[in-house]
Amino acid sequence: MLSFSGVVKRYAQPEGEVTVLAGVDLDIVAGEAVALLGESGSGKSTLLHLAAGLDTPDVGRIAVGGHALAAMDDRALAALRRGTVSLVFQQFHLIGTLSVADNIRFQAALCGRLDPAFEAELIERLGLRTQLDKYPHQLSGGQQQRVAIARALLHRPALVLADEPTGNLDERSSGAVMALFRDLVKAAGSALLMVTHSRDMADYLDRRLWLREGRLHDAPI
């Protein structure tokens, strides 16, 4: 579903060029849930951005569903993000002027893939039934993150990319939301690549990878 081949990414810094990814190879198959761990500044988020086509590698090839991102123009990348790839961030970025119900349907409406039955299931399992007519500022942080998860999954994307999705939640809420998130990703039939610095959160997923010194490893040192 997602493949990285020899991906290198460098950033120019005042003290010189820094290589964040130094030849990353990665393959995630359909329906697989992978956790990406690493210390702060190790390049986890950079890898996620490259996977979503939000940034471009200096060297190497990235493909989603077999399609190379380098060959896509801005319009194709936007189409990829609205239909094939979903992103969930630590900041929820809900649309403040739309109701909870409209926020949930937003991305599915963009790609024309509304599924009332799955929508009802998501709302039910995420406990949002009584919140549908409210606006984002009327919800707690945990509730807002549930809305963001529902928005990311309703159109059943082939790949979900999540960056610390529970980073804004307390420990107890984090566990519950994480378990639910994993189950719903499975229910949607999506592959998942989740960046986290928490081993506990990573344990909810099928596979764990560590990013260290610009390369991926199967185990921590």
């Binding site: 988020s45 996620l48 951005h49 979503a52 939000l54 940034d55 801005d74 319009r75 936007a78 189409a79 990829l80 993000r81 609205r82 239909g83 979903s86 992103l87 961030f89 630590q90 900041q91 970025h93 649309i95 403040g96 002027t97 739309l98 409209d102 349907r105 937003f106 991305q107 409406a109 963009l110 790609c111 606006y135 984002p136 500022h137 009327q138 928005r151 960056d163 610390e164 960046v195």
Partner: protein, 831 residues
């Protein structure tokens, strides 16, 4: 932290924000600059014009306590002057004044006297005042004479020392001598003998009287021949009074621009405070007191006020130079006042500009600062929180608008001066501006309801207006003010132009108009030799009197000519013209005498005639556009009966069908008129309309500048939205929103708000023009006219607004394209 340090540290912390966000500093300066520039430009012009009026009289007029003038306006004979001098009145000296045009049509005023006849103590002073200490007085009073030019005028006209300037009619001034100082204004000063020769006259304009005791004044009055009169010097007062309304109007427009500029400042300050909320909170957390914080913001305000007013004054200086020709044309055309080109920026203007900037900034800062000091009550980090804060702000503004409306009603009830009229306009405009955000919100809510069943993406695009409204609120208010002012003034000018054209069509009905001192006008009309080609002729006569302290012309009209019996009257008693022409001691007055002089229909007016005060009953008022003076019409025979020294004031000729203008012109030359002393009907109309357009060129320029300031407000607001919401936009792009959809999200609510604002401006503009035409214009100039509403100015402004929106969106799109990739790459990182 030592007790003396916090303020400096806090100010540095606050100002460091602008190093990281230079655009906000630019917005702030643009607002201040835009506001101060137009205001100061008008102030510079106004104070310069007033100084010019004073200068116009400085040389001779201001030193003269009285004037001796001819009752008939024909001038004072040299023999009368000599008689006064021989009778021992050494304080009396001759003055010749005239207006001429250069070959390039630049207006010039000529003033002349006999320097050697100036009263004791004035000769030397007068000479010094002209900067003439080193000038050659002997050469001044002897042929070929000298024309003393103010250096700035000489420079402007390209006249070199010794050069003889050629006038439009080919006459040449005496050799130029450049005066070092500017006290003589734009006047060319020369010897009285030189002026009489140049102008082909044998009478003085008036005799000036230097400071005299009441006893001497009484003796002078007793010694006056019957045709002369002694009057206190009111000339300067006249010009200042006459032009007061125009200067008030200019000031009002400049204050409007200042207010529009303040909206930009308000926006910029609000956003800079909002951005710095975390810094402010951190400072409070580390122990900086609210008082220290407030002091730091005051210090920052001082810094901005100095920078803003300095830049604004600099720009105002440039604008004033650009606008001066238009204002000079207005003053020259309306009042005959000549204003020079040498502008000065006086300390008072600098001080007031700084003071106004400071007050404006304090006003723009007061609200957000108050909210900040009350706690974390500024618009929150999310769009929803911004919407809630906006709703509160809208309610407060709406209440304020209600209060302003009540005040406006109170002012309207008791309005009887131009300044009160402008206060009313300001109250109405600001009430409308303050009510606008709530009106926009209500209309937006209605649209949202109407779109309830529409696809989600469409509803999202429209609903984003709620997130934009807080940022666009002030820009929309500024736009409303600019659009309303533009519409109101354009309708006024359009109505005035139409009224003037119609009035000219009615009043300028003859084929040829003659103004010749050599022509016996009544004899010409009565001459049987002209009967073959002349259908009708109207030889008007007139005398100049003073009525209500102002020079007033009384015209004697032929009651049988086509223009008299078709004279359009703005107000009239029944059968007014018939009764007036039948000699019932009725009089017609211009509208100025009605609106400014307080005359009413049927009222008795007492005029000073040669036989003593004479009463007439007002039978009607006629339009008299462009004339700042009072004017009366009487039958020609009545004028001849009451005044001895009646002069010819022009001749109108109607040609028989098929007669060429050349036939009439040949007859005029044969009768003694000189070429150039007559004009064809079409030429007069064209010239009048040209003068009108020149007069109102300043208004058009001010309108355009105000609209540009509003456009700048819109741009700053949108750029602020862009910077504020960039992370949000990046997130949307990450969700798959295309660039086109993103642009639609920004553009559609903006277009919606601008359209609604434009729609609101149309009735408001009509109200403004109604007040300008029916109240302000009448109070200022004494002219009434029907209001002519045309949709064209509104459509033109709509297109202009659309153009501004497209331009602003293009700038925003380029910024978005540049900044969005970086924002997308930073998604998920600490924000």
């Amino acid at each position: 932290m030592p007790r003396s340090e916090p303020l400096g540290v806090v100010v540095r912390a606050l100002l460091s924000h602008y190093w990281r966000h230079p655009w906000q500093a630019v917005f702030l300066l643009v607002g201040l600059l835009a506001g101060v520039a137009l205001w100061s430009a008008v102030q510079i012009i106004n104070s310069h014009a007033r100084a010019s009026y004073a200068e116009a009289d400085f040389v001779l007029g201001a030193q003269a306590t009285h004037w001796i003038r001819s009752r008939s306006g024909a001038g004072v004979r040299q023999a009368d002057y000599i008689a006064f001098r021989r009778a021992g009145f050494r304080q009396v000296f001759p003055v010749v004044q005239a207006r001429v045009s250069t070959a390039d049509n630049a207006p010039l005023a000529i003033i002349a006297t006999d320097l050697l006849a100036l009263p004791t103590g004035m000769a030397g002073d007068g000479g010094d005042a002209l900067g003439s200490a080193n000038l050659d007085w002997l050469a001044f009073v002897q042929p070929p004479y000298q024309a003393w030019f103010p250096a700035s005028v000489a420079d402007e006209l390209g006249v070199a020392e010794g050069q003889q300037l050629t006038l439009r009619d080919g006459r040449r001034l005496p050799p130029a001598v450049l005066a070092a100082r500017e006290q003589q204004g734009r006047q060319i000063f020369m010897d009285v003998g030189a002026a009489l020769t140049l102008l082909g006259r044998d009478t003085f304009t008036a005799l000036a009287v230097g400071p005299v005791s009441p006893e001497v004044a009484a003796r002078l009055t007793a010694a006056l021949p019957a045709e002369l009169m002694l009057e206190a010097n009111q000339q300067r007062l006249d010009l200042t009074q006459l032009t007061a309304s125009l200067h008030t109007q200019l000031t009002a427009m400049s204050l409007l621009s200042f207010a529009v500029g303040l909206f930009i400042v308000f926006n910029a300050v609000r956003f800079s405070l909002w951005y710095r909320r975390p810094t402010l909170r951190t400072l409070r957390l580390v122990g900086v007191s609210v008082r220290a914080l407030a002091l730091a913001i005051v210090a920052e305000t001082l810094v901005w006020s100095v920078l803003g007013s300095a830049l604004g004054l600099l720009a105002g200086w440039g604008i004033s130079h650009a606008l001066l020709p238009s204002v000079s044309a207005s003053l020259q055309n309306l009042y005959g006042a000549v204003v020079g080109a040498d502008l000065l920026l006086d300390p008072a203007t600098i001080a007031i500009a700084w003071g106004m900037t400071l007050v404006g900034l304090a006003f723009a800062l007061a609200w957000p600062l108050l909210l900040q000091l009350r706690g974390p009550a500024l618009p929150g980090g999310s769009a929803s929180a911004g919407v809630l804060a906006d709703a509160r702000a809208r309610r407060v503004l709406l209440i304020g608008a209600g209060v302003l409306l009540l005040l406006a009603a109170a002012v309207y009830w008791q309005m009887n001066s131009v300044i009160e009229g402008f206060a009313l306009l300001a109250l109405l405009l600001f009430a409308a501006a303050w009510a606008l955000p709530q009106a926009l919100a209500s209309a937006h809510r209605l649209l949202g309801c109407a779109l309830a069943g529409a696809p989600l993406v469409q509803r999202w695009i429209v609903s984003d207006g709620w997130a934009q409204l807080p940022a666009l609120r002030t820009a929309m208010m500024a736009l409303l003010l600019a659009l309303t002012a533009n519409l109101g003034v354009e309708t006024l000018v359009g109505s005035f132009r139409t009224a003037l054209a119609g009035w000219l069509d009615q009043r300028i009905g003859a084929d040829i108009y003659v103004n010749s001192a050599q022509l016996d006008t009544r004899g010409f009309v009565a001459d049987p030799a002209n009967a073959g080609w002349l259908a009708a002729g109207h030889a008007r006569t007139g005398v100049t009197i003073r009525w209500q302290g102002r020079p007033t012309k009384v015209y004697g009209l032929d009651t049988t000519t086509p223009d008299t019996y078709a004279l359009p009257l703005a107000q009239a008693a029944p059968d007014a013209l018939t009764r007036w022409s039948s000699g019932e001691r009725l009089i017609l007055a211009n509208e100025q005498a009605h609106y400014l002089g307080g005359l009413r229909l049927g009222q008795t007016v007492m005029l000073p005639t040669d036989g003593g005060p004479t009463n007439y009953t007002v039978a009607g008022f006629f339009h008299d556009y462009g004339n700042p003076y009072y004017q009366f019409y009487l039958p020609r025979e009545e004028v001849a009966r009451r005044w001895h020294d009646v002069s010819s004031t022009g001749l109108a000729l109607w040609l028989k069908a098929g007669v060429s203008a050349e036939t009439a012109e040949a007859a005029l030359v044969a009768a003694g008129a000189q070429p150039g002393e007559w004009f064809a009907q079409g030429d007069i109309k064209r010239l009048s309309m040209k003068i009108f357009d020149r007069t109102f060129a300043m208004t058009a320029a001010m309108n355009t500048l105000t609209l540009l300031v509003a456009g700048a407000a819109l741009l700053t607001a949108l750029l602020a939205i862009l910077h504020e919401r960039l992370p949000e936009f990046a997130q949307w792009r990450a969700l798959g929103v295309t660039r086109r959809e993103l642009l639609r999200v920004i553009a559609v609510p903006l277009a919606l708000f601008v359209t609604l604002t434009w729609l609101a401006a149309i009735p408001l503009g009509a109200l403004l023009s109604w007040l300008l035409i029916h109240d302000l214009n009448v109070m200022s100039f004494g002219w009434s006219m029907p209001m002519l509403w045309s949709p064209l100015p509104a459509l033109k402004l709509g297109l202009l607004s659309a153009g501004i929106v497209v331009l602003v969106l293009a700038i925003v799109l380029s910024q978005l394209t540049r900044k969005l990739p970086q924002a997308m790459a930073q998604l998920g990182s600490a924000q």
